[in-house]
Structures are given as C-alpha cells and as structure tokens.
C-alpha cells in the first residue's frame, strides 16, 4: 500500500479550467492554501503537427503553422517561411518584407492584447478583457481585409505573402495607429497601476536571469528578468535592422526584477513599440512584387537548418531536415511556451493557489504550441 502523506492533498486544476489558458492540467500538492508542488500535465492538445509536416508538401504545411500559436498565426507563418527560404536561398522582394513586418507586428499587438485581457480576467477584472478584445477586433478586421480570415490567416507564404494589400488597407492601418496608442494609457489607468492589481502581481514568482536561461525561457518573460535579448535585434531577419524601436527590459518598478508584474508590463511596452514599428513600415512602403518566384512544385535542397524568429511569446524555432524531396524529412518545432511552462514547477513552490493563476497568466503560455 502506498504511504499517504497526510499533510498534503492533491488538487487537480484543469484540463478544463478557465484560467489555465486552454487544456493544461496542473496537479497541485497543497495543504489547503499553500502550494508545495505543482506538476504540469500537458499533451491534451497534442495534434501531431510534426508528424503531419512529414506527410505533407512544404506549401501544404503552411496552414498548419497557423494553428501552432493561433494568437500569433502571422508570426508562425513567418518563422516557417523563413526556415524554408533559408534552405531555398531565395531573395524576398522588398515590398513583401515590409508587408511581413507589418503583419507580424500587428499580430504581436493582437496577441499581447489577449495576454493582457486574459491575465486581467484571471485576476478578477473583466472590463480590461473586453477592452482588449475590442482593440483586437480592429486588427482582426485589418487581417480579414488583407487575407480573408480572422484567425487562421495563411497569409505569409514561402517566398513572400499570399496577396498584395487591398485598397484602403494603409488608411485603415493608419486609423488604427491613431486609435490604439491612447488606449494604452487607458489600460494603464484601468489595470497596470491599479493598487490591487499590483499587490496581486508584484514580487510574485520572480524569475532570476540564471533560472530563465537555464530553463530556456525566452521572449517578454526573459526580458522581464532583465536580459536584453530580442531576436529582432540580435539576429535581425527581414528588415528589422533598419527599424528604430526599443527593447523594454524589466526594471522591477513595483517590486523585484522578473516578477509577475514586470512580465505583464513588458507586453504593454511592447505593444507601444510594435505600433511604432508599423508606423515606420508604412512610411517605408514602396512598389514591387509581393512574392518572389517560387516553383509550383517546391523541391527544397537537401540540408539542415535551425531558424528562429521572435514571436510574441518568445523564440519560435523550426529545425528542418530536408532530403531534397517535396516533403520535409523532419520538422521540429521549438515552441516558446514549452520552455516557458517548464519553469512553472520551479516557480510555484510555496506560493498561494491564487498566485498560481497569476503565474500562469503572467507567463502567457498557449497550449497548442506546447503540445503541437
């Protein structure tokens, strides 16, 4: 007979729980309020994307990258396209590059809006969630205008983008850029600097820089720990090296560097920066092709590449092995949330159960890319 530790009880959170951001299951060992150990159980959304990639041709797999991190489909499309292009060794037209940056940054904003909204609703404030969705709908409209879908875009393709932008897109984007930055002040008034909200998040679940690196945490979560690391700067792809933007770094404004509040605030700062990038891109617009010449039957030269891009949640990498045929031999997806979630057991010893929700929310994980 197994020995039962009488001090603790097991508590299941998920897989169906509103604040686990999808189908995450956490097995919590607790004495009632204070958590002693958390074991995440993942894989409830394992859809075998890597296996599917081996059975489909390169262009056919693009729609599946939409479903990788559906809050930032454009970024996932982009990372996949960059990977295949690296092996194909083709030059992307300038206009396509600008379009790609615009889409990626708009999607970054809309993804961070969900992060902002869902964290606030986890913390018990529902209004900011509605505010976040309201602005997100604006971006969804922009995307529907340009590619015809609201969530799974399949827009950034190998070699460029699927279609050139329609008339009126630039005006509408400009309208959004005028509309959006003032809203950030609203968010700050409503939520970021609310004393109760700060009390819930400041000094909670501090990730030290060493831990962050050990566990492979990337993206805003890593920057919140005070490490200035952004692939858009460190390994510039597309035309990011020509753009002027800041990389916000956690400063421990409300508590210690790398706490939950810092992680939350990184996203607010990054939305501002993304809006700035989109504005610059619109000014840089020039005529040209939207897609490079790509053969209809795409045979990718044999080789191995690992290409990574900065997604809203961190570093999304594709490790592609090609054997020269029309299908990938192996496509490994390095998902940012996978690494970000793996630090949760380390963070959550000794916290309250209510703080656990804050930890998950502030890490902004998304399950489809963890489970793939």
């Amino acid at each position: 007979m197994a020995v039962v530790d009488e001090r603790f009880m097991d508590l299941n959170m998920g897989p169906q729980h509103p604040s686990t951001h999808g189908v995450l299951r956490l097995l919590i060992k607790t004495d009632g309020e204070v958590v002693s150990r958390v074991t995440p159980y993942i894989g409830y959304l394992h859809r075998a994307l890597e296996k599917i990639a081996e059975r489909l041709t390169y262009p056919q797999f693009t729609p599946f990258t939409d479903r990788l991190d559906y809050l930032a489909s454009m970024n996932c499309n982009l990372a996949y396209a960059l990977t295949v292009e690296k092996l194909l060794n083709i030059e992307i037209p300038r206009r396509a590059q600008i379009l790609r940056v615009i889409m990626a940054e708009l999607n970054r904003i809309s993804s961070h809006l969900i992060a902002f909204g869902s964290l606030s609703s986890d913390m018990g404030a529902f209004t900011p969630f509605l505010f976040g969705i309201r602005e997100r709908e604006f971006i969804n409209d922009l995307f529907e205008m340009v590619c015809g879908a609201r969530l799974t875009y399949n827009y950034i393709r190998i070699g460029g983008v699927a279609q050139d932008i329609p008339d009126g897109f630039i005006d509408k984007t400009k309208e959004f850029l005028d509309y959006f930055p003032p809203k950030i002040k609203e968010y700050n008034d409503l939520l970021s600097y609310n004393a109760i909200f700060i009390k819930r998040l400041a000094n909670i679940a501090v990730i030290s820089p060493e831990d962050a690196l050990d566990y492979g945490v990337t993206g805003p979560n890593l920057r919140a720990s005070g490490i200035k690391w952004d692939l858009r700067r460190e390994e510039p792809y597309l035309m990011y090296n020509e753009l002027d933007f800041d990389i916000p770094v956690g400063r421990g404004e409300m508590g210690r560097v790398g706490d939950a509040w810092d992680r939350y605030m990184m996203r607010i700062y990054e939305m501002e920066q993304s809006a700035k990038i989109v504005r610059q891109c619109i000014d840089m617009f020039q005529q040209g092709d939207h897609i490079a010449k790509v053969p209809k039957v795409l045979k990718v030269p044999a080789g191995e590449v690992y290409v990574r891009a900065e997604n809203p949640r961190g570093e999304l990498g594709f490790y592609l092995i090609s054997d020269g045929s029309t299908k990938p031999y192996r496509l490994k997806i390095r998902a940012p949330s996978f690494a970000n979630l793996s630090i949760v057991p380390k963070l959550s010893g000794g916290v309250m159960i209510a703080d656990l929700v804050a930890i998950i929310g502030s890490l902004d994980i998304i399950l489809p890319e963890i489970d793939r």
Binding site: I42, G43, H46, A48, E50, K51, K86, L213, D214, Y215, G216, V217, I227, W229, E234, E235, G303, E304, V305, Y306, V307, R308, E315, G317, Y319, I321, R330, K332, R334, F338, A339, S342, I343, K346, D371, R372
Partner: protein
C-alpha cells in the same frame, strides 16, 4: 567565437570523443560520442569563452535507412551570441543517451518529449514519462515505421 573555433576547442579538450564536424548545416554541428555528452555540455556551459547559457532545443531524428537515431542539441549563448548544434548518433534498436538535465534543467521536458515520440531513453533522467501522449499509448509515433492505431479506448481512431 565561430563554429570552427568551437569545434577546435572541443576537439583539443575531448580528444577522440568528437567524431565529426559538419559545416554545411545551419548552425554548424559537431557529432560527438554519446557517453561524452554530459561532459561536453557542462564544459560548453562553464567555459567563459563559450558560455552556452541555454539549450535552445533538443530534437530526436529517426534515420531509418541508416538504422540510426539522432539526438540534436541546439545550444546558444546570450553573451557571445553564437550557436552550435551537437549531434549524437544512437543505435535505432536500443537508443540510449545520458541526460543533460543536470546541465540545463530545461532539458528535462525536451528529453521527455524525445522519449515520448521516438522512444529514446535518457539514462539517469529524473522523471522519464510520456509527456504529450497518454500514458497508455502504444508505440513511438514519430518513428518512420510507425503504424497508426485503429482503436483507442472505446472509439475508432
């Protein structure tokens, strides 16, 4: 430090345990003996000139035609901004490799994933269970010769 220099440093330090240097991959990769992987990884992490602070990714690859399995470690350094891939070749029928969990704790989940999908056993791993698939799943689905099951529990697959 570029990949070539890293390779030279490694081959000086670990004579005979480094098998091959592949320059045409991106990032360049070094094929090493499987039982030396822990020593090499901790050397790469500790040495101040290399300082591979984090493991970016760990992937299993099934080379069915050659009867081999690969484990590929993508390593990156935040300070020096260089990258390298380490490759370990394993026997396909009995893939065993020591765990690097002690070097980078983040490797824990990646190794569980490789175990789950490829059946690669990581020796001395603290918690080697299936991670993505249900515990009662049969077979290693990412292997090239995997046959899809017909039924699972009470319904058709």
């Amino acid at each position: 430090m570029d990949a070539k220099q890293i390779y030279q440093t490694l081959s000086e330090k670990f004579t005979g345990r480094i098998k091959q240097f592949q320059e045409n991959t991106h990032p360049a990769s070094v094929v090493v003996e499987s039982d030396a992987i822990v020593d090499i990884c901790s050397f790469l992490k500790r040495e101040t000139e290399l300082e591979f602070t984090s493991m970016i990714s760990l992937s299993g690859v099934d080379l069915k035609d050659q009867g081999k399995m690969l484990v590929i470690y993508h390593l990156g350094s935040i300070r020096h901004k260089h990258k390298i891939a380490l490759k370990v070749e394993l026997d396909r029928n009995n893939p065993h490799v020591p765990t690097v969990e002690k070097v980078w704790p983040g490797a824990n989940w990646y190794e569980r994933e490789a175990y789950d999908l490829y059946g690669i056993v990581f020796d001395n791993h603290s918690d080697l269970r299936r991670i993505l698939l249900p515990d009662d799943w049969e077979g290693w689905p990412m292997r090239k010769d995997y046959v899809y099951p017909k039924r699972y529990h009470t319904w058709d697959v």
